[in-house]
């Protein structure tokens, strides 16, 4: 509660006539910004605490609450924006590193919004997905270069001789990206796993381990092992349908993870196998991986531990040399590569890293897909990509660029109620999502949460089918990597070249 010279970002205005003094808002706010004053019989707001999470205004039965920007007039300065000035003030007051949550929110160009999709007319019919077959099934994992069969040209039956490596079967090319139990609540994990089961997609545990209550969802869970090895043991490794080694994430490439001690309660302690209240650091590098062959060694250690029954993949952040990095990862034995673009979200990250380090996933994905094809090894690993996928259109464009599947983090949380107020690191999430406070976590009902996420996936699936139909394609493998179906708009020549797409009009 230190007095600060930095003005509040928002101001809470309660309409006196509409307000019936039910006092619900004072309870609902996770940030203690609202209180009831008996003397004035009114709700008083402490603007400095408001984060615009919208919990109060959503729960108010009379729609009496408005959250507004605390718009102060700043002397216009195209170089030192108000945000810059505020940040310097904050650092001068505290000497601290600026912390943020969720993904980069600065106005870098979003390439998804500069890509357009083709449609069929006249020379090629579009397909009606409501009435004709439309296939979205996707297999993630290692595939051989070719297959061998027994059988002659004139025979009908043929027998497969080649044995295939284990693959994940998805009904829709989507994965709920890794968000650790710790960063998010038990109920979030439960909602996502239930939704994954219902929609036939996969959920990634993130680096916080898997609560033993959830082993029943194993067929739809990817268990992650990160540098902190939280909650990693032999049973855990066999409790999922795949294992993912987390090397990095888009929000903080090259930086490790940090779960503040406030969020480490009994349950977290048990799942992660650490003392209660300890600050949990995931080191930046895996301290057993200092070169690519070390990674290969870890991959095979995990394959041995899981008896080669499930795919083992690697997650990295998209950085400058991502194509070469992924080529190395594939050659080291990974069955899938997860690439997280610089807009990826997080529970807590240094703003300087979140907002300035890494590259957009659109470019990273295009570069990796190209490189793997050039080297003739594209079939050896599937590519999952993410980092700011906001809608089905982004997903469709990602697949056309070459992704096997996409992952969503922020979008999944928004489906659960998150308003992206970007205060996850405070443990005060009013929606009960990015917190371990039992009073708050109880607000997310897993059944309802699962239904909402299921609805999102279902809606995106229908949208995808409509677009595929317009493209005249009835199987997603005919769109995957087909850059010919995309055109750039308002992009320079070099970017078009990197994306491997033509400009609209050609």
């Amino acid at each position: 509660m230190a007095v600060t010279q930095v003005p509040p970002e928002f101001t809470v205005n309660i309409n006196d006539r509409k307000c019936v003094r039910c006092k619900r808002c004072t309870n609902e706010c996770g940030f203690d910004a609202l209180s009831y004053n008996k003397e004035y019989d009114a709700i008083i707001a402490d603007d400095s605490k408001c984060v615009a999470c919208h919990r109060c205004t959503t729960m108010c039965p009379k729609f009496a609450i408005r959250i507004e920007d605390n718009s102060l007039a700043y002397k216009a300065n195209a170089n030192f924006s108000p945000t810059h000035r505020k940040n310097i003030l904050k650092q001068a007051e505290t000497g601290g590193i600026l912390l943020g949550a969720m993904g980069c929110d600065l106005p870098y160009p979003i390439f998804w919004d500069h890509i357009l999709i083709d449609a069929c007319q006249v020379t090629n019919p579009s397909i009606d997905p409501l009435r004709e077959p439309m296939e979205l099934r996707t297999y993630l994992g290692r595939k051989p270069d070719r297959l061998e069969f027994d059988g002659k040209d004139d025979q009908d039956i043929f027998k497969l001789k080649t044995e295939l490596a284990p693959n994940l079967k998805l009904d829709f090319p989507l994965v709920f990206g890794g968000m650790s139990f710790g960063a998010v609540s038990y109920n979030v994990h439960k909602s996502l796993m239930m939704a994954a089961q219902r929609t036939g997609v996969m959920m990634n545990t993130g680096e916080g381990g898997l609560h033993e209550d959830f082993y029943q969802y194993r067929d739809n869970v990817i268990v992650q092992t990160a540098s902190g090895r939280f909650g990693v043991h032999a049973d855990y490794l066999n409790a999922g349908a795949a294992i993912e080694i987390k090397i990095g994430q888009g929000a903080k490439p090259g930086i490790g993870g940090h779960l503040p001690g406030e969020k480490v309660n009994e349950v977290i302690s048990k799942t992660r196998m650490v003392p209660v209240g300890a600050d949990l650091l995931s080191p930046a590098p895996h301290h057993d991986i200092y070169s690519i062959e070390d990674l290969g060694q870890l991959i095979f250690a995990l394959k041995e531990a899981s008896r080669y029954k499930i795919p083992v993949g690697v997650k990295v952040a998209a950085v400058h040399n991502i194509a070469a990095i992924c080529s190395g990862i594939v050659r080291a034995g990974a069955d899938f590569v997860t690439i997280d673009g610089f807009r990826g979200g997080t529970g807590a990250a240094l703003k300087v890293v979140r907002d300035n380090v890494g590259i957009p996933i659109e470019l990273g994905l295009a570069a990796v897909d190209d490189r793997l094809r050039q080297e003739g090894i594209r079939n050896q690993a599937s590519i999952i990509c993410g980092g700011g996928i906001r809608q089905s259109a982004d997903m469709i464009k990602a697949i056309a660029l070459g992704a096997d599947a996409v992952m969503i983090g922020t979008s999944a949380l928004v489906a659960l109620g998150c308003r992206v107020c970007q205060k996850c690191n405070t443990n005060k999430c009013s929606w009960g999502i990015a917190t371990q406070n039992p009073k708050l976590t109880a607000r997310l009902d897993p059944e309802e949460g699962a239904q909402h996420v299921t609805n999102l996936v279902s809606a995106w699936s229908h949208e995808t089918q409509e677009v595929l139909g317009a493209l005249g394609v009835n199987s997603i493998e005919s769109l995957r990597g087909s850059r010919e179906r995309l055109r750039g708009i308002g992009l320079d020549e070099k970017t078009l070249e990197i994306l491997g797409i033509k400009p609209a009009g050609r």
Partner: protein
């Protein structure tokens, strides 16, 4: 006639196809196939026609017959210089043609019967791979020269014009073949480039195609991974290369290859008996980049026979018929009845189910 800038992108084709095959290798002249394709005249718009013929060079049947289109004499010299260094030329001559009213701006047409110079072949390189690489190299790098077919004892005859006029121009009634396929084109661009007509060929593979491949973008990138170069601005060429990759290089049986190109739907695979389900699932997992989406009916000729195939929901027509040792396939039944009025059997092949005609003996 000159190849245009690839700015045009690929050119879709709507059209007519027809094929006549004799299982015993008996050869017939071109008159019947010409009659068949001419009947379906209105499916084309005169901007492309072509034929593939197998068994036409019995005297030179052990040599690769390169059919070449040249822009001019200089291109011919350039190519011959290259060929002399990389192949042994047994014989070369102008492809006989005759003046035909509606055929204009024809390129210089020549054929070379060549053999691979073994001295130039590395030990571990497969001879056919070598020829494929050479043809791809020539078509992409030697300006003004285009090899339109490169198989043994077969040839592609194509150009800009109605198929019956093309046939007249190339004097096809003078050739005898045990397999004839024909194509009449309805392109929606007018490149005026003779190389863009069907059939598309590679070694002894030839493809005539009615339809448009909506998965072209990924089929192309999948093939590029294996060294194939798309030069023809037409989606059809990926079909020839896919057959070459799947059947010749990966050695998949024909029915497996066609099942990769036009596979059954997942909902049907899921209820198959275990071994079949496993085979089809693996096929779709591994060969997803080869799946041909979009409407198509194709006739693919090769040394040992012919394959007719439709897309997975049969959006283009195809009818087949048999009479004694002859197998007929065509876009319209009338195209068959005009040359065989009394077939033993007529049937409509199903979506994704190939019609395969195989030579009973080596020819």
């Amino acid at each position: 006639m000159l190849k245009c800038e690839s700015d045009l992108g690929h050119i879709p084709s709507g059209c007519a196809i027809s094929g006549i095959f004799n299982r015993k290798g008996k050869r017939i002249d071109g008159n019947k196939i010409i009659k068949s394709i001419a009947l379906m005249h209105d499916r084309s718009n005169g901007l492309g026609g072509g034929f593939a013929a197998y068994g036409i060079y019995p005297k030179y049947k052990d040599f690769y017959a390169f059919h070449v289109m040249f822009d001019d004499e200089e291109s011919k010299e350039r190519l011959e210089c290259y060929l002399a260094q990389h192949f042994i030329i047994e014989k070369d001559e102008r492809i006989p043609t005759r003046k035909t009213e509606r055929i204009h701006n024809a390129p210089l047409l020549w054929r070379y019967f060549v053999e691979v110079d073994n001295k130039r072949l590395d030990d571990d390189v497969d001879k056919e791979d070598h020829v494929v690489n050479e043809v791809m190299h020539i078509n992409s790098s030697i300006a003004g020269a285009f090899i339109s077919s490169s198989g043994k004892n077969m040839g592609g005859f194509k150009g800009v014009g109605y198929p019956e006029d093309i046939a007249h121009y190339y004097r096809l009634e003078e050739y005898n073949a045990y397999l004839w396929t024909a194509h009449g084109r309805f392109p929606t661009n007018t490149p005026g480039w003779w190389g863009g007509a069907h059939p598309m060929t590679l070694l002894d593979w030839s493809v005539v195609h009615n339809g448009e491949i909506s998965s072209y973008g990924i089929n192309k990138r999948y093939l590029e991974m294996f060294g194939y170069k798309m030069e023809l601005m037409t989606d059809t060429e990926v079909i020839a290369y896919l057959f070459d990759l799947l059947v010749r290089r990966h050695k998949l049986p024909l029915r497996v290859a066609t099942a990769a190109l036009a596979p059954p739907f997942w909902k049907d695979i899921d209820v198959m008996p275990a071994a079949e389900k496993q085979a089809y699932t693996a096929l779709r997992m591994v060969y997803g980049g080869a799946l041909m989406n979009g409407p198509f009916s194709i006739l693919v000729g090769f040394r040992g026979g012919v394959v007719g195939l439709n897309d997975r929901i049969k959006l283009r027509p195809m009818i087949a018929a048999e009479k004694n040792d002859f197998l007929y396939m065509s876009s319209e039944e009338a195209g068959i009845r005009v040359i065989e009025p009394d077939p033993d059997r007529v049937w409509a092949p199903r979506a994704g189910t190939p019609v395969i005609g195989l030579l009973e003996d080596e020819v």
